[in-house]
């Protein structure tokens, strides 16, 4: 007997073809936390799944900024009607941003991306060595534990504080959100990026809490830190994009 479609091959999808992985596990919720089919925790699959979720989430963020960018480019080219003179003219005026401070903030953010990467690599190393360390009698010596994650949080907060300073300088120079279309977009882009970066800081604090308060296994911590790290790198990239965009259109 045969079926109408190919039926005999049970294809076990591989990670490499973006298909499948193991089927949903049971009893531990729908996210595979309960363990793999052999009863062991499968952190590799969970990490891959979390990264996929992150990429999709960042796609939505990209679309948000695609919307802002297209609005900016269109708005910049639009003529504005002057009711006093009954004429059309361009109302886009270049705004003076405190570039020195912005570049300093950029350096702080890029530095935080570096510390975040060190944190990611450190916990990846710890997760890889965790099974070896669990063998009785095996000691790998104490690694020097620099608080990379904490440093990233501090630098991230430093960046946000720097951004607040930028806004204060703009206000002092009477460059307000409704002063001109350019200033509107500058405030909009800075604020949206800051909100997303603040979300990243919260994710890092959660990663820290997972480590010290919730006592999650190092493999589970690694997933949180890994995903937070890629998110953080994306925030740095996004900031560069915003700066370049503002330089181009000023």
């Amino acid at each position: 007997m045969s079926t109408l479609t190919p039926n005999s091959a049970v294809r076990y999808p591989r990670a490499s073809d973006a298909g499948g992985g193991t089927p949903p596990t049971f009893g531990g919720g729908g996210d595979g936390e309960g363990g793999g089919s052999n009863g062991a925790f499968n952190y590799g699959e969970r990490l891959r799944r979390a990264r996929l979720g992150l990429v999709l989430g960042l796609t939505a963020v990209i679309m948000l900024f695609v919307g802002f960018t297209s609005a900016l480019l269109v708005r910049k080219g639009l003529p504005s009607f002057d009711a006093q003179t009954n004429t059309y003219s361009r109302d886009w005026v270049a705004i003076n941003l405190p570039w020195a401070l912005l570049w300093m903030n950029t350096v702080v953010l890029l530095l935080s991306s570096v510390t975040m990467e060190f944190a990611r690599r450190a916990i990846t190393r710890q997760a890889a060595l965790a099974p070896v360390k669990s063998i009785p009698g095996v000691s790998l010596g104490d690694e020097t534990k620099f608080p990379w994650l904490g440093s990233t949080v501090v630098l991230g907060l430093g960046f946000l504080a720097g951004q607040v300073l930028v806004w204060r300088i703009l206000v002092e120079h009477r460059v307000l959100v409704n002063s001109s279309p350019g200033s509107s977009f500058a405030y909009l882009l800075f604020a949206t990026h800051a909100v997303h970066l603040a979300g990243g800081v919260i994710a890092l604090l959660y990663a820290g809490a997972a480590s010290w308060l919730l006592h999650k296994p190092v493999e589970a911590q690694r997933i949180v830190v890994d995903v937070a790290a890629w998110y953080w790198h994306f925030m740095a990239l996004l900031w560069i994009y915003i700066l370049v965009l503002l330089i181009i259109v000023r």
Binding site: T3, T5, V10, Y12, T59, A60, G67
Partner: protein, 396 residues
């Protein structure tokens, strides 16, 4: 977050043996819908933020020079058309976000109740992908009236009409699925057939509106209201009804009442046509839409009987929905007990107990061996083969 969840689950948490091309078309449709949602809602959010800033902090992204009570406001230089572009870049994919799940449900139900494999499974998948892809390139057809360049309008027009190709593929495949099938006309099947009917009836007016030269006179008339409600509004709702009648036994362990289901279908089906088909006539008679007061315009007087007819039809159609509500709650508690697989369907959910346990599969991991529409398989004792039935012969 919902889209993210759907996409990740579909890509990374499928059962063993469940290749992408063994997924039910319902899952494909929700998968593609989730991708559209992921890409479209970000742009809507950006437009929404800009709009809020215009309204609350005095920016001028969308607001041009505005005179209120003879006084110039502080706004200047914004463009309402910019809002329209951003909104419709979301708005048109949103149409497919609404209709694609209905397409998936209709495919599932038509195949199950025709006792035939879906006609052209791969073509159905590719057609949905094509509809999703093209859906992002046609937003301008909502804006032919905005005075856009005729060259842009031409491009949007051609791309819009191109969507007719995958839509026609789907329609003919649905008809091919039913053709010469041993059709079981239970309520889910009635609503699935109703979905196809409404999709065709509403869809055929699409190519009219896709052409700027026809859209300009028809755009602000009832013609658009009729087109939109047939193809998207009610067709999508028919998909929801088909899905509810189809999966109700699995969800609640009881069957819905068939008599009430049929009465609900026929009254809704006829009522829908009675409401929305005359709108095309009104539109061609230049009856404007969005008017709250119709009695003041002399040339509309002769069209008032049509409006009255549509209003009566709307009341009857609304009344018919109470049959559904009563059926839903009555069947939930008093309906006859449903077996595990009352429709003799093939997909994974029908392998579980009815209603399913908390984790759906009772701790036993399903393994998929077959495609989702194995009906009328030669040589089998039953006329269907479950997706989990082990391989029985052919090596591929």
């Amino acid at each position: 977050m919902g889209a993210l969840n759907f996409i990740t689950t579909t890509l990374d948490l499928r059962a063993k043996g469940m290749t992408m091309m063994r997924m039910p078309l319902t899952v494909w449709s929700w998968f593609i819908t989730a991708i559209l949602g992921l890409l479209a809602f970000g742009v809507l959010l950006s437009a929404g933020i800009l709009l809020l800033m215009d309204r609350n902090v005095g920016t001028s992204f969308f607001v041009p020079v505005v005179v209120v009570n003879g006084q110039l406001t502080a706004h200047k230089g914004g463009s309402p058309l910019l809002w329209q572009h951003l909104f419709w870049f979301f708005g048109h994919p949103e149409v497919y976000i609404a209709i694609l799940p209905g397409m998936g449900v209709a495919s599932q139900v038509l195949s199950t109740f025709s006792r035939k494999p879906i006609f052209g499974y791969r073509a159905m998948v590719y057609a949905m992908l094509a509809i999703g892809f093209l859906g992002f390139m046609v937003w301008g057809h909502h804006m032919f009236m905005s005075g856009m360049s005729p060259y842009s309008a031409f491009a949007f027009s051609v791309l819009t009409m191109a969507i007719g190709v995958p839509s026609a593929i789907k329609t003919f495949n649905w008809l091919g699925t039913i053709y010469k099938g041993r059709v079981r006309f239970y309520t889910p099947m009635l609503f699935a057939v109703g979905f196809v009917s409404l999709f065709v009836s509403g869809g055929l007016s699409g190519p009219f509106l896709a052409q700027p030269i026809l859209d300009i006179p028809l755009h602000d008339t009832y013609f658009v209201v009729g087109h939109f409600h047939l193809i998207m509004g009610v067709a999508a709702i028919f998909g929801i009804f088909a899905a509810t009648y189809y999966w109700f036994p699995k969800m609640f362990g009881r069957m819905m009442n068939e008599g009430m289901g049929r009465a609900h279908f026929w009254l809704t089906f006829i009522g829908t046509y009675a409401i929305f088909m005359p709108m095309h006539y009104l539109g061609m008679a230049a009856h404007p839409r969005r008017y709250s007061q119709l009695t003041e315009l002399a040339y509309l007087h002769r069209l008032l009987p049509v409006q009255q007819f549509m209003t009566y039809a709307a009341f009857i159609t609304i009344g018919a929905q109470f049959i559904f509500v009563i059926n839903l709650f009555w069947s939930m508690f008093k309906g006859p007990k449903a077996s595990d697989n009352p429709w003799e369907a093939t997909t994974l959910e029908w392998t579980t107990p009815t209603p399913p346990p908390h984790d759906n599969f009772g701790g036993k991991t399903p393994v998929v061996h077959n495609g989702p529409y194995e009906y009328g398989v030669p040589g089998h004792t039953r006329d269907f083969v479950m997706q989990t039935d082990p391989a029985t012969g052919s090596k591929h």
